[in-house]
């Protein structure tokens, strides 16, 4: 068994760009990283997703070398870099507040890393201009400007160009879109993805915004209280959350508690059929996405079918959010406004809701309290 694990590591390290092995980091009494193991592949857009204070930024700073882990190993391109300072690691980083040097022009900012690497001046100029082209900032216009003369989105692009121009093995991004307006943020998300595809560099992206993570990432690690809750593709973490935390943090969910017996959960409002390999007799919680619930006639032949009173309807443009009371439990249902019965729904009415056993996002064992 041990042998096999070892062998796996060796083969995986070749294609893994970043490996965090058993990382522990404490700040005083707070454990920011609790035995974290993550492997990030070459050319991957990898996100560290979690609420604020979950320890995701600490992990990024450990990869960068800005924090030293108390325990564990950091491997970059197959090389142990745990004890190397940032400037000896082949990385680039985009900071939360961008950290553009205010006393330098855009050109000087981007040329900074190249100058330190002693590139000849004509090579520096060429590379800086290429980097500006890559992030769609016409060099003739912007090269001579100071960061304070740029808009938020433009500063963003310069920060990315500066971090990429030295051709690092990994680009680390620490919530770089946080300060931008919604529209620009959405646009920059697509831009980041485009840039990543163009240059092919491994991106490690820290965010607390599940939307950003889902849109851009090849894979996501969900971080909670210093631990990795789940690593998977956006599809996996959304559709197949492995813990209740993941189901709750990513997207929206209805949660029903009950006792699991013979493929069904006894809840306060009735039996719910589920697919689960948890032992019979355990206390469990079911996660069910609001968009998976059918209403009206469509609910007719569902495996799980209940009737309840509509408590509230909220119009959101593309969907109606309908709150349905099943005994003492309120269920949130998303009904597309294109649904044939959508216009007839009214508060106070009795309505049927239903879903099949496979529609549940997950069934999780509740820890004994």
């Amino acid at each position: 068994m041990e042998m096999m694990e070892k062998a796996e590591y060796i083969t995986s390290e070749v294609e893994d760009m970043v490996v965090l092995r058993n990382i522990v980091k404490r700040f005083g009494k707070v454990v920011a990283s609790d035995h974290v193991n993550i492997e990030i592949k070459r050319n991957e857009f990898f996100s560290l997703l979690g609420p604020s204070g979950s320890g995701k930024t600490t992990l990024l700073r450990i990869i960068a070398g800005l924090e030293k882990p108390d325990e564990g190993v950091v491997i970059l391109e197959g090389k142990d870099v745990t004890n190397l300072p940032p400037y000896k690691r082949n990385i680039g980083m985009v900071f939360q507040h961008l950290a553009l040097f205010p006393h330098m022009t855009v050109f000087e900012n981007i040329a900074y890393g190249l100058r330190l690497r002693k590139f000849p001046e004509d090579e520096i100029k060429k590379r800086v201009y290429d980097a500006l082209e890559l992030v769609k900032m016409p060099p003739e216009v912007f090269a001579g400007r100071k960061p304070s003369q740029l808009s938020g989105g433009q500063q963003q692009r310069v920060a990315i160009a500066r971090a990429l121009v030295t051709q690092p093995a990994v680009l680390l991004l620490d919530e770089p879109l946080g300060a931008l307006d919604l529209k620009i943020r959405q646009h920059m998300m697509l831009e980041l993805k485009r840039i990543q595809r163009t240059v092919g560099t491994t991106f490690v992206y820290v965010t607390h915004d599940q939307g950003e993570a889902l849109v851009m990432s090849d894979r996501i690690a969900v971080i909670h209280e210093g631990r990795v809750e789940q690593v998977g593709t956006p599809y996996e973490v959304y559709e197949k959350p492995r813990t209740k935390f993941v189901a709750n943090f990513i997207g929206e969910s209805n949660f029903f508690e009950g006792i699991l017996r013979n493929g069904a959960v006894e809840t306060s409002f009735g039996l719910i059929k589920v697919i689960s390999d948890i032992q019979s007799g355990k206390k469990v919680v079911i996660s069910l996405r609001p968009e998976r619930i059918k209403v009206g006639k469509a609910a007719g032949d569902a495996e799980n079918r209940f009737e309840g009173k509509i408590k509230e309807i909220v119009y959101k443009g593309d969907v109606l959010i309908v709150m349905v009371a099943l005994d003492d439990v309120e269920v949130k249902v998303n009904v597309p406004t294109t649904h044939p019965e959508a216009r007839k729904l009214e508060e106070g009415e009795i309505i049927a809701v239903g879903w099949n056993a496979g529609d549940e996002a997950g069934v999780f064992e509740l820890e004994a309290e």
Binding site: M93, F101, L116
Partner: protein, 258 residues
Amino acid sequence: MSIRDKVMGLYSAFVYAFLYVPILIVIVFSFNESRTLGHFTGFSLKWYQVLLEDKVVWVAFYNSLNVAVITTLVSLLLGTLSAYGMIRLDIGGKGAIDSLLYVPIIIPEIAEALSLLLFYKFSGYDLGWLTVLLGHIAFDISFVYVVVRARLAGFDRSLEEASLTLGANEVQTFLKITLPLSMPGIIAAALIAFTLSFDDFIKTAFTTGPGFQTLPLIIWSQSARGGVGPELNALTTVIMAISMTIAYIYARLTMEKQ
């Protein structure tokens, strides 16, 4: 603007006039042809002429400048060192050290001045240039410390981290990022150290000895018992012009940061 706002604006204008009219009067009468106060009989530079020909004034001017320049250089070095140390070093007892560095600003000048005098007498110093200088430096270190520290504290640490991730080591980062960005704070501190020393009176009066005079001491001894006069107005105008110009540059520098 409502009437209330206008009244407040007018009141403020009055207060500014209160601050600046006395200074203007000194300047105006330094150019007055006659000696009589309150009557401007004609424009003349003759009082400045008198100043220029006064050897005592020249010596005092040299002394003031000499003390102020050396004070500025030494307190800048020591004050900046302590500010960097306090912000960047990872050591215990910082709170206590910080309080120690603040004390000279809080203690009233006259108390500090007389204790220096007692110290010099006790230790057998000869009062004069050196004793004045040493006292000025002790006071200015704290001001430099406060000004530079404020600049460094308002400094985004991730700028230095960015430099590290771009391939610069700690020394390169300090030279290319930290130092240039803290320059405005260091310059501001130098300006403030200079003015505080250049026009200082009380500490100088207590710690100087026979034969060492600075410009403020001349004003003091000549204006004693209410002796205002055009020569003194001219001298005051010159010192104020120097101090206020430097203070103005300092004020602009610190305002820009915001």
